[in-house]
């Protein structure tokens, strides 16, 4: 049997996705024999030069994890797209932007300022007395270049065409069972699932979670997970904790809700059919806030209740970059590059 060539490439990664592959252990046995690893820097000292030397589409499957945060990540994405038949966005970052996309309301300048100039511990006496900051190009002595921090942090689709998506922060073994199926099918029959397939559940997380729900869900007081010790049997929403379950795709097995008694933050991305889980959850949460005592609370009271929800962007878009931001940011980037 012909071996298939597999690459694992990365953008702005935290290492979690790599760990999720390493942790698979014996699960990889059925495909170990048939796989030839051509790139995975966590596993061995692979070089980009070697990849560049490959024929176009010589790699069969590339798993790309991490978002596009720097110019280098974009380059890597383009390189692997060119060399791979199937490009898979692996992990929430690569699928939707992930945790790093929380920086999207800020441009690179602001981010650098806040780290190197305005940071809490930065002053004359502190570690960065001279307010130094990294430069993309360094010319004194030996010239050096560093990748440029982009103004945005976007999912893989913002740069290249993606065949499949494996969401999760990081993905879980059940998704690997599905992936292994896909790979074996490909090897044996040459068949691939339709483009755009999301390798995860086909419903919203609530269905998979199945915590007990009261007759109706209203929240008269919003609570952050640390404020109470939630009843492990009952739906977290019904306990006043914002849980993204209803708008999030199933497939994680309720890792947070069932496994850790913590609310879902939405790492599996939008449930099937949902376009913008952030705004949908925002609307749902606003709707059930004080739903039975609206007249009593009155406009002012309702406003106050809503203001107890801190950080709407971070709450509702923790892992998912909304489409309008993607478009906007891309446009900015294009303008910038056309100026040069």
């Amino acid at each position: 049997m012909k071996k298939i060539k597999l690459a694992v490439a990365a953008g702005s990664f935290c290492g979690g996705c790599d760990m999720s592959i390493i942790n698979l252990n014996e699960m990889l046995i059925p495909i170990e024999e048939v796989i030839e690893l051509v790139f995975w820097q966590v596993a061995a000292d692979f070089k980009f030069e070697d990849v560049e030397a490959l024929q176009d589409k010589e790699i069969d499957i590339c798993l790309y994890h991490g978002p596009i945060r720097t110019s280098e990540h974009a380059e890597i994405a383009h390189l692997f797209r060119k060399k791979s038949k199937v490009m898979i966005a692996y992990g929430s970052c690569s699928c939707f932007g992930g945790i790093p996309q929380l920086a999207n309301p800020y441009d690179a300048q602001t981010i650098l300022d806040s780290v190197y100039t305005n940071g809490y511990n930065i002053d004359e006496s502190g570690p960065n007395q001279n307010y130094m900051r990294p430069k993309s190009e360094y010319k004194k002595g030996r010239a050096m270049t560093l990748p440029k921090l982009l103004d945005s942090c976007l999912p893989l689709t913002s740069e290249v065409d993606v065949n499949y998506f494996v969401p999760g922060c990081p993905p879980v073994p059940t998704q690997w069972e599905m992936l292994v199926d896909i790979i074996t099918n490909f090897i044996k029959k040459g068949e691939l699932p339709p483009k755009g397939t999301v390798v995860a559940g086909e419903t919203a997380l609530c269905e998979e979670c199945g915590r007990e729900k009261p007759e109706e869900i209203v929240i008269n007081r919003f609570r952050r997970p640390f404020e109470i010790d939630p009843d492990p049997e009952k739906c977290l929403l019904s306990q006043g904790i914002i849980c993204m379950g209803p708008a999030t795709r199933a497939g994680c097995g309720g890792q947070c809700t069932l496994g850790a008694n913590m609310p879902c933050r939405g790492c599996f991305g939008p449930a099937p059919g949902v376009k913008d889980p952030g705004l949908k959850m925002l609307s749902a949460i606003a709707s059930i806030g004080g739903a039975k005592i609206e007249a009593e609370l009155g406009p002012e009271g309702l406003k106050k209740l809503m203001e107890t929800i801190p950080d709407p962007f971070g709450t509702f878009y923790r892992f998912f970059t909304p489409e309008y931001i993607i478009k906007t940011k891309k446009k900015v980037a294009e303008e910038e590059s056309s100026k040069k």
């Binding site: 705004l279 949460i285 309702l302 406003k303 309008y324 931001i325 478009k327």
Partner: protein, 148 residues
């Protein structure tokens, strides 16, 4: 007032069929005048206005979005406008976090007899938008200095 930054702003107004849409009709019957920059979309209740629509409009090129409904306690469907009110609090906060001036999103209670208020709301809103730069999302440019 400040500089004229956007002489022809585009506005989408979501009007509740029972109140503000009637106020708009009454403004017409009374031959009041307001700028033609606004396209209205009538919904059964302000509660039908999904926050998604507001961002759809902003991303689609609107410089501002108005949602108008019945006064609190007067919603034809009793509590629809309270839902709107609550959603708008979060929508505005979210917009501000993303660097979209929250003044671009405006909620107003306009009963069916308040034609004057309708005209005033539209006129002043459009006037205000003229003095803001074109919507960052419209130009596909999120303001780069979001607040800390």
């Amino acid at each position: 007032m400040s500089e004229l930054l956007n002489p022809e702003p585009k506005v989408i107004a979501f009007l509740c069929k029972w109140c503000s849409s009637n106020a708009a009709d009454l403004a017409g019957v009374s031959r009041m005048k307001y700028p033609a920059n606004v396209i209205t979309i009538v919904t059964p209740c302000s509660g039908r206005v999904d926050p998604t629509y507001i961002f759809d409009a902003l991303a689609g090129g609107a410089d501002g979005v108005i949602v108008a409904g019945c006064h609190p306690g007067e919603c034809h469907y009793v509590t629809g406008n309270y839902k709107t009110l609550k959603r708008m609090v979060l929508v505005k906060e979210l917009a501000a976090q993303m660097g979209i001036e929250d003044e671009r999103i405006h909620l107003e209670w306009i009963s069916s007899s308040e034609a004057k208020k309708f005209v005033k709301t539209m006129t002043e809103f459009i006037e205000k938008l003229k003095h803001l730069p074109p919507n960052p999302l419209r130009n596909n440019r999120v303001a780069l200095e979001a607040k800390h």
